[in-house]
Symmetry: C2
């Protein structure tokens, strides 16, 4: 997230907002994360302007191109890009992710989003977005097509015999012949199978539809969880769903977001958190919250509690984020201004302010008690917050034998301990030989 995950990060003197225009800033961040032996960098994305143009740090870079630039200066770290199934063709996205996987030597991941906002749909020929369940039906079929395209060249399809002129064994290159509700795609993909077979599949929806989709497809789930109780409940639920799909529970990694606000003392950390929250511009935050949960809160008095919110079944936006915000506001009886402060640090992700030991303790607790398989570390300020985490928290996690000291694999799948999928066409071929 540019110069930091706190919504006012760009205003803080420890950031340089001009770095948003500098690809070497992002390369520097990736190198810091690689020094910390992180599994991956993870780029959020959307297909619209978010929030209030006047007060929001605007970006320049599209994730797949930016990650390609990061791949050039790193050797191990995974490269996860967010892309929506709502407004692209599966052939195009299959190809972009395959290409990133080839270029990076097997480090590509795709954070699959369905995109809730009408404002996004308005950039793609619609006045309003399609409804929630249909978005997930489209996503499900989209994944059918994309994974079939990734499989369409078997791993051993290439022959490359200069003397005979045989480049590929055409019996190992497959049309996919997909005809469905949303897509008809003949195939094969015009790219040979990539190093990971399938770029890693990540998903970030936590609604009922989102969880089912994750259980069917995702190998990692990026989730917003405010409390340990909610996190363990989510963790248990999603693992059960994965098993119900006939998949091993550890085939899907649960990665809550965490915003570590670090200080040499707890008081220093809390002071930094307060300093950042003071930089929030309420009008901007209200507009972003309105877009985030799909309920118009502009004009609501800042120092009053939220109005009664409609049942989630009436929401066509990001349902799980809506519920998180509603539950947080009700549980803690927050005014709108207080809620904005709670959301400003991580837009719904947990903010942990404290010393490196306190943050490491928090991570250890969640990691060892069934709340998380790992974390999406969302530093409030960049690069400083990431440097602090890598230099002061990662060594503690390593000393406690909770985290690797060096990379043992080269691909993102290897970092996650996940297998490389065989081509579905190879399996069919093997089965038919056995029968």
């Amino acid at each position: 997230m540019g110069v930091g995950h706190h919504e006012a990060a760009w205003r803080h003197p420890r950031t340089d907002p001009r770095a948003l225009d500098d690809v070497t800033h992002f390369q520097h961040l990736a190198r810091i994360a690689e020094r910390g032996t992180f599994d991956s960098v993870f780029l959020a994305d959307g297909v619209q302007i978010w929030g209030d143009v006047r007060h929001t740090a605007a970006g320049r870079f599209e994730p797949l191109t930016l990650l390609t630039a990061l791949a050039q200066v790193t050797d191990h770290i995974g490269l996860i890009a967010t892309a929506s199934t709502g407004f692209s063709e599966p052939y195009n996205l299959a190809r972009l992710f395959s290409s990133l996987d080839h270029i990076s030597g097997g480090r590509a991941g795709w954070n699959i989003v369905t995109t809730a906002q009408d404002r996004s749909a308005q950039n793609f020929n619609r006045e309003v977005n399609t409804e929630h369940a249909e978005r997930y039906r489209r996503a499900d079929e989209f994944l059918d097509v994309v994974t079939a395209l990734w499989d369409s060249w078997e791993d051993d399809a290439l022959v490359v015999d200069q003397a005979t002129g045989v480049f590929a064994d055409e019996t190992k290159v497959h049309e996919i012949g997909h005809k469905g509700q949303f897509f008809s795609v003949r195939g094969p993909l015009n790219a040979v199978r990539s190093p990971q077979g399938h770029p890693l599949l990540v998903q970030a929806g936590s609604s009922e539809d989102g969880r089912s989709f994750a259980a069917a497809w995702a190998e990692a789930v990026f989730t917003a969880q405010q409390t340990h109780a909610e996190a363990t409940a989510f963790y248990g639920d999603i693992k059960r769903r994965v098993e119900a799909f006939g998949r091993p529970a550890d085939g899907l990694k649960v990665l809550p977001g965490i915003v570590p606000v670090l200080g040499g003392t707890e008081a220093e950390a809390l002071a930094l958190a307060a300093e950042l929250d003071d930089l929030i511009i309420p009008a901007r935050a209200v507009r972003q919250l309105t877009e985030l949960i799909g309920i118009d809160l502009t004009g609501h008095p800042l120092d009053e509690r939220l109005p009664e919110l409609p049942p989630v079944s009436h929401v066509n936006g990001a349902k799980s984020r809506f519920e998180l915000v509603r539950d947080l506001a009700e549980r803690e009886r927050l005014t709108l201004r207080q809620l904005l402060g709670r959301l400003g640090g991580g837009r719904g992700h947990q903010v942990v302010a404290g010393t490196p030991e306190q943050v490491a303790d928090h991570i250890e607790l969640w990691f060892t008690t069934g709340a998380a398989d790992g974390f999406n570390v969302m530093a409030p300020l960049l690069p400083s917050g990431l440097e602090d985490f890598v230099d002061h928290v990662v060594p503690l996690l390593r000393a406690r034998e909770l985290f690797r000291t060096e990379y043992t694999g080269r691909t993102l799948r290897e970092h996650y301990g996940l297998p490389r999928p065989a081509s579905r066409y190879s399996r069919v071929h093997a089965d038919s030989l056995q029968a």
Copy 2:
């Protein structure tokens, strides 16, 4: 084109077809071209498998991601990617090219194609492609949308005042409010204006519709011309059309493709050309020709002349390429086998086999007599053919003061001597102030 533009390049002992899987191979090519002070590298592309899988060197890399990787190891050379208006959304393509332009510091170009093949359409929910004129109507509207999105942030929209929290002047960030036959796009783009304002627009269609489109939009035309007479006629026609659109004639650069087959002597060059043609596999070449011109020639005897071809009005594929092939075959009374040999080197682009002096003479003649403003140099073998051109032909062109000895600009527009367009919204603003 991977390991060379000759269709059998990958079979030649001077190429390593395994390099197709190696991004450093392409980076090496870009560095060679930059050593030769080329304006740009230019990546062809399509959205289907071409030709005969068994005998065709298959690729891995998608152009926008590959060019991003090339941007990391070069400083000046332009980076032109082919992308189709037929099967993408303008918001997505506008963003990808904007991102490449940002990442490369103003070196991005877009070779706009409309995509003729049914086989491509079958990867995008259609059984048959839309008809030729409709493809160009869609392309025209596509460009309206993309250029408006590129303009949607005025150049001076950014304020970035940490103290006041004002990141952008919202009066300089514009919704585009496009509602047309093919697209409805609200905007603005979620990326600030890129270094070139508009990434350079290139076009490669030479049909009637293609020429009109080029005259309206293109700043460079990549064209296949077999003879000097045809090339000068095309050159004159397209420049007149550009002026008819109210644009300066030199605002569009005419760049015929040229395949230089180089040797220390003419005999050596001709021997290399023959050696390459001998590596062509006729069955593969017939299939590719069939796809190229949209007429099924499989089964036609190799040593007989072509059957009578239908009038171009009955062709829904690439009309100008169809005419080029038909005219070449008729003019030279070629058998199918001979035609395949003539096309194998450059798929319709002129093949010039000779010494560096002979190739330089050819280039000088075309360049100084109204046939070309420059050339798309399509080395038959890579990297060797490009190295030969840079080391032996470029010095001759420099000595004749036909070509630069060093870069004088940093952006692709500067290399081409083309202006950086102002945002249409800035102009409106300026005009309204004057009125």
